[in-house]
Symmetry: C2
Subunit: 307 residues, 2 copies
């Protein structure tokens, strides 16, 4: 059973409050860890919530507004001070590279590990990261500075063959792979077994999309089609739709509309404006459009599954 | 009664832990607020501990190791987002100015208030800040990058004249000031009243010194002579004196020796290495040298007084 988990470290907007930290979340999939955004205090949130991040090798920064990256240099420094040796790759807008180098130069720090910068401007539909089992892509969001969303998609899983059938028919291993990929099977007597008779469909592949910060933008739905979980910013409520539009942010209802139009299974709201001490109003408004909506909670780890 | 208070926001060393944040503290004196160092998360610590900082107009950054300034850009941004209009002055090593400007440029931010940078390299014994009642000076510490300590000193207070004496003798106001400054008084009959007969000594002026980060350095005592409260780094315990020396940090005993030699009234230890979950060992070692020692506690506000 695959294990895709999302730990929300910060779900506030630009100004931190006593109850909301700036953006940051850790996505974990079978031994891989990905940090998405890294606002000030992200490393403290990891400590506070006892979330281990030793396997972190890839960080994704959506855009260069401070609430999405001010915590990055601190995390880089902490890794250095703890003697990290394995490389750390940062997928971010190009300008971040010079800034981080400037910060290291000011403190006369030469890292004892390699920092690799990958510029989001250089990818289009190409995956940022790909393994045998999954890939991560970026796509443009609609914000006041260049900004990208990210989507994690597990690759289609193989069909499952009945184990007894494999043993009884003494199916050679190269045939097993083909059957799992959808081929029919012909035994030594020339009898054909349709794939649908001898296999069962795998579970649906898991996926996760991160959309923050963005104005309502229908065009993003094509990038996040059918995701298992969508995290979408919901900075404002319905009464502030004009402000949201001006500031290139979304209302909770708009986030829900994106979830609905992209056929997402579940929606997690975040990036709450500091004015909402209790963001329940955002939940209520979003559920009217997309019932399977939840408010993200800092420190909570969500299992991303097909239900 | 003067009110000098110190709020400790972070007392950890370079690596934050679940119980220690990076350096930061707020010094408050009669409507003036001064932030000393601003490690990552300092603004969250202010929020968490419900410490208001609306009157903050001056920030002092001791040196450019990240645990002493990574939180500054976040605080600057928050002031901007909350519509601050009054200027903010930052006393820091010169290199910080370009770095902060670089950060603002990357996020395309034009602040709606003035940011004034004062370079610590340009002061020697001149005060960084001076009012009628007090001044703040910097002095060099002994660390791996240029680093400064800070000392706040209330100016000598005027002597107090018996109010009845003033009224009975109908002393003109210009004479009152002179008597308060120490002059004798001659009345209209030519009778001389010695200052010591007609006034009482004021309370001792209050003072505070901040020494972090520094190796043991006897030469700093001349700058912090007789302070009411000394905050001194105590990164290591006695068993690590060699490491402390190599890394240009101090042990708790060395901090206590500085407190003793400078004739400080009270010592507050901080900048604890992440290895000390319970820094009581540091307290015990320091008290053997300087009994009036305490461990700083994050979120606590200390009244600085002559006892």
């Amino acid at each position: 059973m695959s294990n895709l988990k999302l730990s929300v470290l910060g779900n506030g907007a630009a100004v931190p409050t006593a109850y909301c930290n700036p953006s940051g979340q850790l996505l974990t999939f079978e031994g891989n860890q990905f940090l998405i955004d890294c606002g000030e205090g992200t490393q403290m949130q990891l400590l506070k919530h006892k979330i281990r991040y030793r396997k972190l090798e890839n960080i994704f920064i959506s855009h260069l507004h401070g609430d999405h990256y001010y915590g990055l240099i601190g995390l880089i420094s902490t890794f250095h001070l703890y003697g990290r040796e394995k490389p750390l790759t940062i997928y971010a807008p190009a300008d971040l590279e010079e800034l981080i180098k400037h910060q290291l130069q000011v403190s006369k720090t030469t890292l004892n590990y390699e920092l690799r910068f990958m510029h989001l401007e250089n990818y289009n539909d190409d995956p940022l990261f790909e393994s045998d089992d999954f890939y991560i892509k970026s796509f443009p969001l609609k914000h006041s500075v260049p900004c990208w969303g990210f989507v994690f998609r597990e690759k289609p899983l193989l069909r499952k063959i009945n184990r007894e059938f494999i043993e009884n028919k003494k199916i050679p291993s190269e045939q097993i792979v083909k059957i799992k990929q959808g081929s029919d099977f012909v035994d030594s007597d020339g009898v054909t077994y349709l794939n649908s008779q001898i296999t069962i469909a795998p579970r649906k592949s898991l996926s996760y999309a991160y959309c923050s910060d963005t104005a309502y933008d229908e065009s993003i739905t094509k990038h996040i089609k059918d995701v298992t979980l969508l995290y979408h910013e919901a900075t404002f409520d319905n009464s502030m739709e004009t402000v949201a539009s001006e500031k290139l942010h979304s209302t909770a209802s708009q986030a829900a509309q994106i979830a609905k139009n992209s056929n997402s299974l579940k929606l997690l709201l975040g990036h709450f404006s500091a004015r909402f001490k209790d963001p329940k109003v955002l939940l209520d408004e979003a559920r009217k459009v997309f019932p399977n909506t939840f408010l993200s909670i800092e420190g909570r780890t969500y299992l991303i599954e097909n239900k």
